[in-house]
């Protein structure tokens, strides 16, 4: 069980690490592509217009070749989203009625029948497709480029900066949690079913202490080499 969790965590770390560098499309800002991808994402999640769905799909397919070095990670992310959507909407598939009332109102236009396969597929497709324009754009251009575009809009700078740091911290934390667990595992000889979860639970204290110290130092390290007001800005 812990083995599976560890594999998932490492994979999730890779999915995020893949976008922390510039992509193959240079490093200038994206005054058109970024708003376009955000608009498409918005349209798919808020409307049921098939044209907007098609537009989102076309946009994502056009971005795909540019995301080539990170295709594996992009595929994983899409798969996660689809699985996540499927799990949430499982009750709809089986009972034909949503137990997640809010979500079903938002996402499922068809009235519930006994085996609501249409509604289920519709929901899964929508959750998976909606973020795809912005996600493929980020995988094609790299987060630093998207961030530097967001920095241009004063009110978005802090958000972009925080997202940037999260993208650095989350993968490192995921890897680190399991290295702390592994270090404890090596010193534990207890056997049995609960052993792994006990290990994980007791590692959490160390993990929090380590993460706080690390993020303080990291913030300093970024400051030390940043000559502009916000990190990840690029020269005009």
């Amino acid at each position: 069980m812990l083995g599976v969790a560890r594999r998932l965590a490492v994979e999730a770390a890779r999915v995020i690490e893949a976008i922390t560098t510039f992509g193959s499309l240079g490093k200038r800002p994206l005054p058109l592509l970024l708003p376009l991808s955000l608009t498409l994402t918005g349209l798919v999640s808020l409307t049921q217009n098939l044209y907007s769905w098609a537009a989102a799909l076309v946009f994502s397919l056009v971005m795909l070749p540019y995301a080539r070095p990170r295709l594996r990670e992009l595929a994983y992310l899409t798969l996660y989203l689809a699985v996540f959507a499927a799990v949430i909407e499982l009750p709809v598939l089986i009972t034909g009625q949503s137990r997640v009332a809010g979500l079903s109102q938002l996402y499922r236009p068809a009235p519930p029948s006994s085996w609501n396969i249409d509604g289920f597929l519709f929901f899964v497709a929508r959750i998976t497709l909606a973020p795809l324009p912005i996600v493929t754009l980020v995988y094609a251009t790299g987060w630093p480029r998207v961030a530097s575009t967001l920095y241009r809009i004063k009110h978005l700078r802090r958000v972009a900066g925080m997202l940037t740091l999260s993208l650095l911290l989350i993968p490192r934390s995921l890897r680190n949690l399991f290295s702390i667990v592994a270090a404890r595992e090596a010193r534990t000889f207890e056997e049995g079913y609960m052993r792994e979860w006990k290990l994980l639970a007791t590692a959490v204290g160390d993990f929090i202490a380590d993460s706080t110290g690390y993020s303080k130092r990291l913030e300093m390290a970024i400051k030390a080499r940043t000559f502009t007001e916000y990190p990840f800005e690029v020269r005009e």
Binding site: M220, A221, A224, R225, F227, V234, R235
Partner: protein, 219 residues
């Protein structure tokens, strides 16, 4: 000669109830010299370097860069100061070694010049073969040298190195020592900390000892 960086009666502590880590530190840094700050573990060497880099603010006293308060010149003045953290692990925040070394020059130069500088820094430190590696996959010694390269790639005037030689194997240590000598020869001011003077291999022009919050001349 006018000091490049100057500390005047600097006091510092972590929090109002904590003891002073630095209590009245004076220091003048001029170009072309290697300063060695020796002190036991916990004596405040790291804290002192962070103050010199403008990453921590003193509670009392002044930090002057080129005669003017450092904090009024931030963040732009940071391009004049490079700092190598004691733990290189916490210094790396880019996905690949290339990006790490390119992070600072990218803010100053176009991609062509940035590339030139990354390759030159990597060559000087003998890490050309690491450039495409993710920083997470490096060994401790490799991380330390990559962190050093990420500083020299933007050519700062003041270089602060927090225990740069600890835990390095002899070949890397030799390269780092050569690097320090050539930086001083080019007119940079270099400040090195160490728990032990002997580690520093006679590289110091000025040796200072940090103990009980004060800095004294001599080893």
């Amino acid at each position: 000669m006018k000091p490049l960086l100057e500390l005047r009666r600097v006091f510092f502590r972590y929090g109002k109830r904590s003891p002073y880590i630095l209590s009245g530190v004076n220091l003048k840094i001029i170009r072309g010299k290697v300063y060695c700050i020796v002190g036991e573990n916990g004596s405040g060497k790291t804290t002192l370097l962070h103050i010199m880099a403008g990453l921590l603010e003193p509670e009392k006293g002044e930090v002057l860069l080129d005669g003017k308060p450092l904090k009024e010149q931030l963040p732009r003045a940071r391009r004049l100061i490079g700092i190598l953290f004691q733990n290189p692990e916490t210094m790396l925040f880019n996905p690949t070694v290339y990006d790490e070394i390119a992070y600072a020059p990218r803010q100053l130069f176009d991609e062509g010049e940035t590339r030139k500088r990354v390759l030159e820094s990597a060559r000087l430190l003998g890490i050309e073969d690491l450039l495409e590696r993710p920083t997470t996959s490096l060994s401790y010694g490799e991380k330390k040298v990559v962190a050093l390269a990420s500083i020299i790639s933007y050519d700062p005037e003041i270089i602060l190195l927090d225990e740069p030689l600890s835990n390095l194997h002899p070949e890397r240590k030799r390269r780092v020592l050569n690097m320090i000598r050539s930086l001083a020869a080019k007119g940079k001011a270099v400040v090195i900390t160490s728990p032990d003077l002997e580690l520093l291999d006679n590289i110091c022009d000025v040796t200072l000892t940090l103990s009980e919050g004060r800095l004294k001349e001599g080893g």
